[in-house]
């Protein structure tokens, strides 16, 4: 990078917050995928004003800018594949307000997701979205990627809780959009526009979220199956019976085996599948739902239904589930997590399809997922250095996506497009859809400095892939 740009950055944000040594750049070159690329500079801002100044410098010099929170992205969205500036957002870590009167909270983008959840729960409030990386992820990252999680089944995803935000545009303009009200139809819904934009439309600085009262009671149970398809059918059946638990997390035998190997939490590794179910509500409602769920599960062939007796027992089971992605690394150096999502009724069909594809291409594809909302996470356990196998992986992914779309589903339920799913975009949204998205992007970021090379396929770009 040219010295004059670095000097300008020094001036606007202070030398100590501008990192240019190779050792520093390496540490901001990756996320939780296997993509990586060195940025030219890492900037560590502490306010909207500083970020605005940095963006003005970047826009003037046409420098790419990628905002990065916890770096736990699963689609490559936070990898600076065009070099340029990485904005490390951790210093923006204040919970600005938890407003119990209005059931809303405002936080800075760098606030840790789990810390935010704990802070609102301490006041008897509830922020449901629970990406499984909550211990490491940031609220800004959650909004930029429109993160989901197991509770999405009952409560929806991050988007369903965003009411307002402060965002810095590519030219440095600081913009406040939305607000504290649940209802707001004043003009276009800009908050939703930026939510899930993967850092390509603006840098999210602070967000106002809608909150719920913390449910009076919750319980966790585990339904165990001798056949994966019984489990898949149970999910569809629960939904059909108009029961909405908080989560319906299915894990197949392979997944449970890997979790148990790393974090023994007591999953039934001899079973073909298990569904981790959480229900909440009033004490009475919780009891009622659990009974009904058990009945449905047993009718569909559950061999056992176990209820966690204590909160600790429940927390332990969830700890295992949360570590699932990392646990895949025990068996593979390149676990590729897909997040194909189908209409709920199609779930058994999709599960079977994935298992067939795994067999067809001789691949190890443990399946887990937030199956209640049709959101599957087949994790292809591979090694990218094994080129022959990677070819088979590629073919398997192609087939999985095509089938997902044929069943009326979507490429990504909650991880985003980033780099990983660009080439399938057109299949789902069509040429016209893609064109509209590109035009919108161009309107807000005419110089294409904000996270360039993401979402939209750019054949000419060189990506340095590495596990």
């Amino acid at each position: 990078m040219q010295d004059n740009i670095i000097n300008e950055l020094y001036q606007v944000i202070g030398k100590e917050n501008v990192l240019t040594d190779k050792e520093d750049l390496i540490c901001y070159s990756y996320d939780a995928t296997s993509y990586s690329h060195l940025p030219e500079v890492v900037v560590v801002p502490s306010s909207a004003e500083e970020i605005s100044l940095v963006l003005k410098v970047a826009n003037k010099h046409r420098m790419p800018v990628v905002a990065r929170g916890g770096g736990t992205n699963l689609c490559g969205a936070s990898v600076p594949i065009k070099g340029g500036i990485v904005l490390a957002m951790h210093r923006l870590n204040k919970i600005i307000e938890i407003d119990g009167d209005n059931l809303v909270a405002t936080v800075e983008a760098g606030v840790n997701t789990e810390k935010f959840q704990q802070a609102v729960e301490a006041k008897g409030l509830f922020y449901p979205p629970d990406p499984q990386s909550a211990k490491m992820s940031t609220m800004g990252g959650n909004v930029a990627q429109n993160a989901g999680g197991p509770r999405g089944f009952k409560y929806g995803v991050t988007r369903d809780f965003v009411l307002g935000m402060k965002v810095v545009l590519a030219d440095g303009t600081i913009l406040d959009i939305g607000g504290k009200t649940i209802k707001n139809v004043t003009g276009y819904d800009l908050t939703k526009f930026f939510t899930g934009s993967e850092g390509t439309l603006g840098v999210i600085i602070a967000i106002t979220f809608r909150l719920l009262p913390l449910p009076e009671a919750k319980k966790t149970m585990l339904a165990v199956f001798g056949d994966l398809m019984d489990g898949a059918r149970t999910i569809s059946s629960i939904v059909k019976n108009k029961i909405i638990p908080v989560t319906l997390e299915m894990m197949d035998q392979e997944t449970m085996g890997l979790i148990e190997k790393s974090k023994p939490v007591g999953l039934p590794t001899d079973a073909a599948a298990a569904i981790l179910i959480e229900v909440d509500g009033s004490e009475h409602e919780v009891e009622r739902q659990m009974k009904k769920i058990e009945k449905v599960a047993r009718a569909e062939g559950a061999t056992d239904v176990v209820v966690a007796r204590t909160e600790e027992e429940a927390a332990k089971l969830w700890e295992g589930r949360k570590a699932a992605f990392g646990c895949m690394a025990l068996s593979a150096v390149t676990p590729i997590t897909e997040d194909a999502t189908v209409p709920r009724s199609k779930l058994p069909e999709m599960v079977k399809f994935i298992k067939d594809v795994a067999k067809k291409y001789s691949l190890s594809i443990p399946v887990l997922g937030h199956t209640g909302d049709g959101n599957l996470h087949p994790i292809i356990c591979t090694d990218e250095n094994n080129l022959e196998e990677m070819e088979r992986v590629e073919k398997a992914i192609d087939e999985i996506f095509k089938e997902t779309l044929r069943l009326g589903g979507t490429l990504s339920g909650e991880h985003g497009i980033g780099l990983a799913k660009q080439k399938y975009m057109e299949l789902e949204v069509g040429q016209d859809g893609l064109n509209l998205m590109r035009q919108l992007k161009k309107a807000v970021d005419p110089n294409n400095i904000l996270n360039p090379g993401k979402i939209f396929l750019q054949e000419t770009e060189q990506i340095n892939e590495k596990a």
Binding site: S29, G71, M136, L330, T334
Partner: protein, 410 residues
Amino acid sequence: MKKLESYHDEIKHCIRCGACQAVCPVFEVMEREMAVARGRLRLIREALEGKLDLTDKMRDYIDLCVGCRLCVDNCPAKVNTDQIVISARHKFVDVKGLPFLHRIMLEQILSKKGNFNMALKSLGLARGTRLNKLLPEQLKKKEEILPTIPQRTFVDKMKEMTLDTGAPKKVGFFLSCMDNFMFPEVVEAAIKVLQKNDWDVVIPTDVNCCGAPHHVYGDWETAAKLAKKNIEAFQDAEVDYIITDCATCGSVLKEYGEMLSGDAMEQKGKEFAAKIMDINAFLIDVVKMKPGQNKVSQTVTYHDPCHLVRHQMVSEQPREILQAVDGLEFRECSDADRCCGGAGTYNINHYDVSMKILDKKIENVKDTTADILATSCPACRIQLSYGMRRAGLNDMVVHPVELLARSYED
């Protein structure tokens, strides 16, 4: 010990899920990616693949690891980052030698008991004449970390003690440098407790530093030399167990087999390592100790040393000891097993980071409102005492065996 190159495959199993960010005490206060396992592993990997030179900056980042093993415990892929970091430091020593200050500390002070003694005596003298007040501000703060240095070392005191009481059983005791020079009262308490439970204690006084500082900073050659001397010091002890009240010593003594791998003394190292036991674990699991009748009417909380809870998997026994003492009320501290930031000389080398980690620990200790803070490692004790003094609290940090000793009649 394994060379850095042999960890290349293991490092590849870091799929950068970021789970280490949730637990790393250094990351918690620095919030930068190079201060967490994921970043360190990536730097090491780039170096191993020839894409990054072994630079001073990389060395600084590797040195920032406090060695607490929290990341290893929490890593879904079970990557042994703490071992990899130690191997990386060894690589640096191999290629670039020890940095000047480490060389003085490791080669001239910690390896030579006389020099260590002299250094601490000089500090006592400087304090007595208030010369320490003339130190530059940064150095003065660091000097304040060290506790009051007792007039007499344990070895001095031992000359007047009767260790052979003709008890039916005897156990070896590895005397740590810190206990000898700074906390002789802990060893005295340990002897009392063991004798009250019909065990005699054998304490060879020609032991050397356990080698932990050398080992973790990559000076494996000196560490191996010290290991051999220590094994020889116990040659004639004829004991089945060798105990220590220092969590750090214990953790490294247990590795003597691997530290001497390939050496003629490897087998002896393994046998020696197999005898090592933490004093808390020994008192509960082997001695099945019985506390005395005296009431100790105070409240106490406990800090788990990283080198005990995660390196040696000992966490229940010290609590059992505290709960067994009549009158003593035990209060669990939140995040009791999180690092205090002491980590040997980490608090001297990385004062600011260490103090931020310490302040979080002291806040948690404060919340328990306990009268006494117990811990099982002299290095933690030095750090925690300093933290209590900094926070204007009563500096009441002791080893569990000291409280247990108070329960017996004299």
